[in-house]
Every structure is written in structure tokens, then in C-alpha cells.
Subunit: 217 residues, 2 copies
DNA sequence: GGGTGTCTGGGACACTTGTCCAACTTCGCG
DNA sequence: CGCGAAGTTGGACAAGTGTCCCAGACACCC
């Protein structure tokens, strides 16, 4: 085995663990399966990581990290009306689940496992806080780009959005009914869109007039 | 051990398995833990049940069975306006989750486990079909009792409702934020209520006029 | 009452699991 | 060059897993 600092080996193990959990489920991500995936001898595991549970913590961080970026670009494209953008964003999420179902299922499994494991009991709350924050950022960005204001607290709406994406994912994983999932998103869009109100007259800061409000970051 | 026909012993084992899965998670529901819970010797297990996976199938059936009744009564009580009934029903579900979180989590774990297990791969679809059917029956009953008509296909709405309850459950299990879950249900209620339209003039069957349409079953 | 089929239950099997050790090699610095 | 720190590794451990066998006990019907 090539020589490798422990820290580096640890992230390689986290990536391997994610690959195994994606393919075969979290319960199959044993220390032996993980090192096999990473092409390491078993003894490397506990040299790089104190315990399997610690590694799983890394895996969650690994996924939650890269999650926020992908969806944001979708919003900025074709800045149409609210329902269209909403539907397109939800659709993009579902598409992501469809192309990597194991990954998303692994995240559910990880959450459930963490909830049952004393040393990881704090993980799910942090994980979902990140989900909620991501959704909130998305909704706030939508206000800007669509020139609207949400008629309910954005943090509450964000939680509802995560609720819906989670629910749709779970349902689709269970029966793989693409058409039904799409119809659910249609309905969810129709249910969510009315919370968007046209923005009040773009508040001009009296002391600092702008030529065009479109130039605001 | 008292003598007991194998069939009877099997349901006792299913109940014990549910108790263990509720308390300690599905992964802790080993054959030994289950028979200990049931107060049986280990060898009784495979006399009554061919395999552990078969037993888990029973457990799902056990829960899905008793699920439909509880919520229905809620609807019939105080037949108020749509948002109130909607909110009350969703609230009753959340309350159920709150009082038995392990149970609901066990169902999620069971679904995830089944999805990863070839012999149980058919379970999740059937399980969710039941959920959807239950929600659909509820929504249809609501049409009658509230004198409304849903402006979207009831089966689609039912899937959205299950999506939301699943999502709320998952989120609450993760962070146990009661207030946030309640706010999510408030918002979901506001989002769902507009799908209810006043029923069209109560269709009188021309050949069989009724004195009062309220007496219809 | 005898015998057949149902039920009991102790014990074992083959295997997998997370974790650790102790010996070995390699690196980098003085 | 020498030496301590860092990295590598085969092998083992104790515990736990699902499943099965087999000898015995009991119930019920002819």
C-alpha cells in the first residue's frame, strides 16, 4: 500500500464508505467492506479512524457538504413565473434522486441509524438543520430573482419544502412510480405557489438612490 | 413453555419483534432478542417462522393493518370548515408520532431494510399502496362530510398527503422540534385547503328524488 | 393404550462483526 | 548516520449472528 498520511486516508475511507452504502446499504458498510472498496488492508481502518461510527459521521458531512450547490444554478436559469421555477426546481431534485437512488436512500438509513446510536444522536438534528438552511437560502434567492415576497416566514416555508422533498423521495423509493411522483410535484407546486406575492414597490433607500435596482447583488 | 400452536406462536413473535424494533430499532431485532421479548427459547423461532425476514414481513402487516382506523374517527367529530378538519387530522397524526416515535421510526427502518433485501423487495410498494389507499379513503370521506369536492384527483391528493405526513415525521424524528413541526402543518393546511371546492348542487338522481340529501350514507 | 404428528428446547454449526496488538518498514530531522 | 515519529500490516480476539439438528415430551384419534 502506498504511504499516505492518516488524515488523507480518512477521507478516502469516508468516500469508500459512501460508495458501499450507496450500493449495498449502510448496514453493509462494514469495516471490511469499506477497506475492500478503498483497496486497503483492514488494519488501516483503525489507524485512520477511531471507530466505524466516527467514519459514518464523516460520510454524512461529505454528502451534506456537496448538496447545496447543485440546485442553486437551476433557479437562476430561465427566470420565469413562480410556478414554473418552483416545479423545475422540485423536478431537478427528483431527477437527482432518480439518477442516484442508493445515495439518497443511504442518507435516510444513516439518519435512522444515527437516531438509534447514542454516539451519533446529535447528527440528525445537524443534518436537517443544513437541509433547512439550504432550502431557506433557495427560497430567499427566489424572492430576489422572481421579484416576489413569500407571504409566510421563509424558514417555515423552507421546512415545508424539505418535508415535501423528503416525502416524495421516500414514496418514490418505495414504489418507483415516476408518473405518480411527478403528479405529486405538480400538486405540490400548485399548493406552494400561492405563497408567493408580488414584491412591494422596490424599496428605494432614500439616502442612496440607485439608477437601476436590477444591479443590486 | 406453555404449549402453543405454531400459527399462534408466530403472531406472538411478530408482536415481540415489533416491540423490540420499536424500542431498539429494527437492526436490534435479532432472533435472540425477539424470542427473549416473547419469553420463548430460541429454537421456537424457526419452528414457528421459516426465517427472520419472513417474520419482518408479518410485522409490517401487523402495523399497516391497525393503522387505518384510528384517524378516521377524528374526521367525523366536529364537522367544521375544511382548514380546521384538515389541520386537526394532520395534528392527530403528528400527535400519534409524538407518543410513539419508536414505532414510526421502526416503520421507516423496515421500509429501508426491505428495499435492500431481495426477498422483501416487494414489501415497500405494497406498504405504501396501503398508505395511499388509506389517505384516499380519508379524503373521499371528507368530501361527503364537509360537502366539498376536491379540485384535483383524489388519488393524487392522497399521495401528496402521505408525502407530507412522511416528511413531517422524518423531520420531527430528526430534530424533535415540536413547534416547527406544528408550523409546518399549519402551512401544509393552508397549502392544501384551496383544493377543496364547494360541492356542486347535490346531484339529485332524477328518477329517485330524496327529501333530504343529508340522510345519505 | 399405542402410535402418529405436533410441539419443546438445549446445544451446536459456520460465519461475520468491530476492534486491537505487536512486529515491521519507512520517513524526516538533527 | 541514527533515532524517534509516522505509517503498514497479518493475524487474532471475543462477541454476536441466523439457522439447524435431534432427542425428548405432550396431545389427540383410532
Amino acid at each position: 500500500m502506498a504511504r499516505m498520511p492518516a488524515a488523507e486516508r480518512r477521507v478516502a475511507l469516508a468516500r469508500a464508505a459512501l460508495a458501499v452504502a450507496d450500493r449495498d446499504g449502510v448496514h453493509a458498510a462494514t469495516t471490511r467492506a469499506i477497506v475492500a472498496e478503498a483497496g486497503m488492508p483492514l488494519s488501516s481502518f483503525h489507524y485512520a479512524v477511531p471507530s466505524r461510527d466516527e467514519l459514518l459521521r464523516d460520510v454524512v458531512a461529505l454528502v451534506v457538504e456537496g448538496e447545496s450547490d447543485a440546485a442553486l444554478a437551476e433557479l437562476l436559469a430561465g427566470a420565469d413565473d413562480v410556478p414554473t421555477v418552483l416545479r423545475r426546481t422540485l423536478g431537478a431534485y427528483l431527477e437527482h434522486v432518480r439518477t442516484a437512488p442508493g445515495r439518497e436512500q443511504a442518507m435516510f438509513e444513516l439518519t435512522q441509524y444515527a437516531l438509534r446510536t447514542a454516539e451519533l444522536a446529535d447528527l440528525p438534528a445537524a443534518q436537517y438543520a443544513r437541509y433547512h438552511a439550504t432550502a431557506e437560502a433557495l427560497l430567499t434567492a427566489a424572492e430576489q430573482h422572481l421579484g416576489i415576497r413569500w407571504s409566510a416566514p421563509v424558514s417555515d416555508l423552507a421546512r415545508l419544502v424539505v418535508t415535501i422533498t423528503d416525502g416524495v423521495t421516500l414514496g418514490w423509493l418505495a414504489d418507483r412510480d415516476d408518473a405518480a411522483a411527478d403528479r405529486t410535484l405538480d400538486l405540490a407546486t400548485a399548493a406552494l405557489a400561492p405563497f408567493a406575492h408580488p414584491a412591494p414597490a422596490p424599496v428605494p433607500v432614500p439616502s442612496a438612490p440607485r439608477t437601476t435596482p436590477l444591479e443590486e447583488a
